[in-house]
Amino acid sequence: MADLAGDRELARVTAQVHQHYRQLVATRRIYSLIAVAMLVLVLIGALIFANNASSGKFFDRLPYLLDFIKSFVPNDPFEIVRAMFDLPSPYADGSFKYDYEEGRRYLFGSAFYIPEYFYAMVVTLNIAFLSTLIGGFFAFFLCFFASTNLMGANPARLVIRRVMELCRAFPEIVLAGMLAAVLSLGPIAAIFAVSVHTIGALGKMFFEVVENADMKPDEGLRSLGASWFERVRFGMVPQVMPNFVSYFLLRTEINVRASTIIGAVGGGGIGEVFRLSISRDHAAKTYAIVILLFVTIVAVDQLSALLRRRLVGNASFQFGA
């Protein structure tokens, strides 16, 4: 008999727990619903605003969205190859559109040339690599001064973090524009802009790696009376280096994209020639550049992924700003 009473008690408690659970779920649902409803409202508002602010309205333009492709039909597929390698075109009519040879970069007199777009691609890649190198160099030296486990409560740590945040958030086109006003437009302005951004972005990643590092080697060195620099050099650098290099390679991938886009606003390189050719309806040239850019980006991504996988394994394969 006592068991039955116990069972009934249990059933009552279970029902109560179940009811409480139901209530909690219902409250959560309501909050989720409100959140989603607000998101949808903001989204609709944003879409209406974006549509009104655009010169071509979405539903007006949608049927004609790809119309411009019609003017981007090359006369024959080999035109793309000719544009890519700066070979003379059979359609040449004196206009710039078919004048593929004009951009050749001759080496050793006139015996040998680099096709224009390959050269522009090299410019862009050099911008990306050099900026990553410069940015990585400064980020490497700054990150140790920004990490709490090495600096303690030193206020310099906060100052350096703020500087890194500023470097990260400062609009790249303004950095480029400032230098371009003094040096005239060109790759140096792009290098400066991408480098500064890289200092901020890599600096943040680096000091987070340092803060997550194992402090035992550091303790060991400290117990031997090592100075701060010796502790960083022998206790910290060896264990953070693989992750640093991994993030460095990831940044290289990102910077290749960043330097194409900053090229389009005046930094030179492939971005600029692409913007010009698409706005002038040069079909074959545009396709040649798109293919070149696509292949390069895929190649850089694959190479960097390969190196990173060999370096740190599949772990810490994280994206992020």
């Binding site: 969205l65 410069i134 086109i173 524009g177 060109g186 886009i261």
Partner: protein, 447 residues
């Protein structure tokens, strides 16, 4: 206690750990090689981009002016010498001083002379039609004229320079005076952003705050059609120099581009990631097709999408939204599908073992595991896109990026650039905090 090893122990250690005692050439020399290659590459780039010559040829003397323009403004009154011996003061069009200015640093002295003060009585000029007296650090230097131009005074310090009959005196930050035999052009620089709230044509121009509050709250209606407050807001937004209304509008466009683009990309990548994940969709062809689709949209640069959609939609946020949407669909798809492929399968098995339908298996077996990763990655990219949308806009999609580019092209509106940069930094800061708050609310504190 010193550790002593016998030769046998030593060779035993060597034999036991060959990778430590005789590392491969790459391990031994690799770091040194890379350390040498990096400056080598930097040196190559230095000559490739001709950095040395470009920097040497830069117009560095202008850099100081441009930087000063960020936080200061300039008035340029011109003192013309008329034939009758009097001096006519001419202000530039749309002078920041407004119509009929009479600033306290310009005074009319007896004898028809004009005085301009560049900070204190020690640094000033006195303009008369026969000569200009320049007081620099307390010393007086008379600048006389002849028929060909102004003459450099004897023993003039380095602040004086002469070119084509024009003598220029540099007072540092406070400005400069260019003296000719027919006129004196004064550039007088002040710290701050002039006419930030109301331009010179506004009825509220030049009011201090108490006056403004009084005028807005209890003054006569300046415009019978609207209240003073709405007039003041209108005047503020349509300020011709600072263009607050336009700047806010363009900034909002940029925010909208990032917000809508990221949201739509996440919404499309979410279902596609389940198709691309090998452990959810068992059809290899479908996996392959979706994965290559992600690779394609990701690897075709955002620049290309931005320019393509600018051609399609015309300039405006729609083009920016589409570019961010397409690029990030690929990125999110890749990240999401990798997250799904790395889940612990036990949870799914458990849900399946109680006979749940396929959709419920994904809903209760997969989503709870991957949702935190999805949310955190999406928010990271949202933050990055808020910063990135500026530059996509500059390529042609509109928004604050294009406005920045236009302001920089003129080389005169650096104070507007500074204003927009400040707003962008503020927006980035606010959205970083929103995204951090959301992240910790939705998935708990970091990691």
């Amino acid at each position: 206690m010193a550790i002593a090893l016998t030769p046998e122990e030593r060779s035993a250690l060597r034999a036991a750990h060959p990778e430590v005692f005789s590392p491969g050439p790459w391990k031994r020399w690799g770091a040194l090689l890379l350390a040498l290659a990096a400056p080598g590459y930097a040196f190559y780039c230095f000559s490739f981009f001709d950095i040395g010559r470009t920097i040497a040829e830069g117009k560095w003397e202008r850099a100081g002016i441009y930087m000063a323009d960020w936080v200061s403004w300039e008035a340029q009154p011109r003192f013309r010498f008329r034939d009758d011996g009097s001096i006519e003061i001419e202000h530039e069009r749309f002078s920041p001083l407004g119509e009929n200015p009479d600033p306290d640093w310009m005074t009319r002295l007896p004898g028809g002379r004009e005085e301009v003060i560049f900070g204190g009585p020690a640094n000033r000029i006195e303009v008369s039609t026969r000569q200009v007296m320049v007081y620099l650090a307390g010393t007086a230097y008379p600048v006389a004229f002849d028929s060909t131009g102004a003459l450099l005074p004897e023993s003039a310090p380095a602040a004086f320079s002469e070119k084509n009959g024009r003598v220029t005196v540099d007072f540092g930050f406070a400005g400069s005076a260019e003296i000719r035999n027919t006129q004196v052009l004064v550039r007088r620089r002040f710290f701050g952003w002039e006419n930030f709230f109301f331009d010179t044509r506004s009825p509220y121009w030049g009011m201090n705050l108490p006056d403004l509050v009084r005028a807005v709250t209890s003054g006569e209606r300046l415009d019978p059609k609207q209240s003073n407050l709405s007039l003041a807001i209108d005047e503020f937004l349509t300020n011709s120099e600072w263009q607050h209304g336009d700047v806010f509008n363009k900034l909002l466009q940029t925010i909208v581009m990032a917000f809508v683009g990221t949201l739509f990309a996440a919404a499309l990548a979410f279902p596609l990631a389940f198709v691309a994940a090998r452990n959810v969709t068992r059809t290899r062809t479908l996996n392959w097709i979706t994965k290559r689709f992600f690779d394609f949209t990701r690897s075709v640069d955002m620049l290309i999408w931005a320019l393509v959609f600018t051609r399609g939609f015309g300039p405006g946020p729609l083009a920016g939204i589409s570019a961010i949407f397409v690029t990030d669909t690929g990125t999110f798809g890749k990240l999401y599908s990798e997250a799904i492929e790395n889940i612990d399968d036990k949870q799914r098995e458990g849900v399946r073992s109680v006979g749940a339908p396929a959709a419920a298996v994904q809903r209760y077996g997969v989503i709870p595991q991957v949702l935190p990763v999805f949310i955190s990655q999406t928010l990271y990219f949202w933050e990055a896109n808020i910063r990135g949308a500026t530059i996509v806009g500059a390529v042609g999609a509109g928004g604050i990026g294009l406005k920045l580019l236009e302001a920089m092209r003129t080389n005169k509106d650096w104070e507007n650039v500074a204003y927009m940069v400040l707003l962008i930094l503020l927006v980035v800061f606010i959205f970083d905090n929103i995204s951090n708050t959301l992240r910790s609310r939705l998935i708990g504190p970091r990691n």
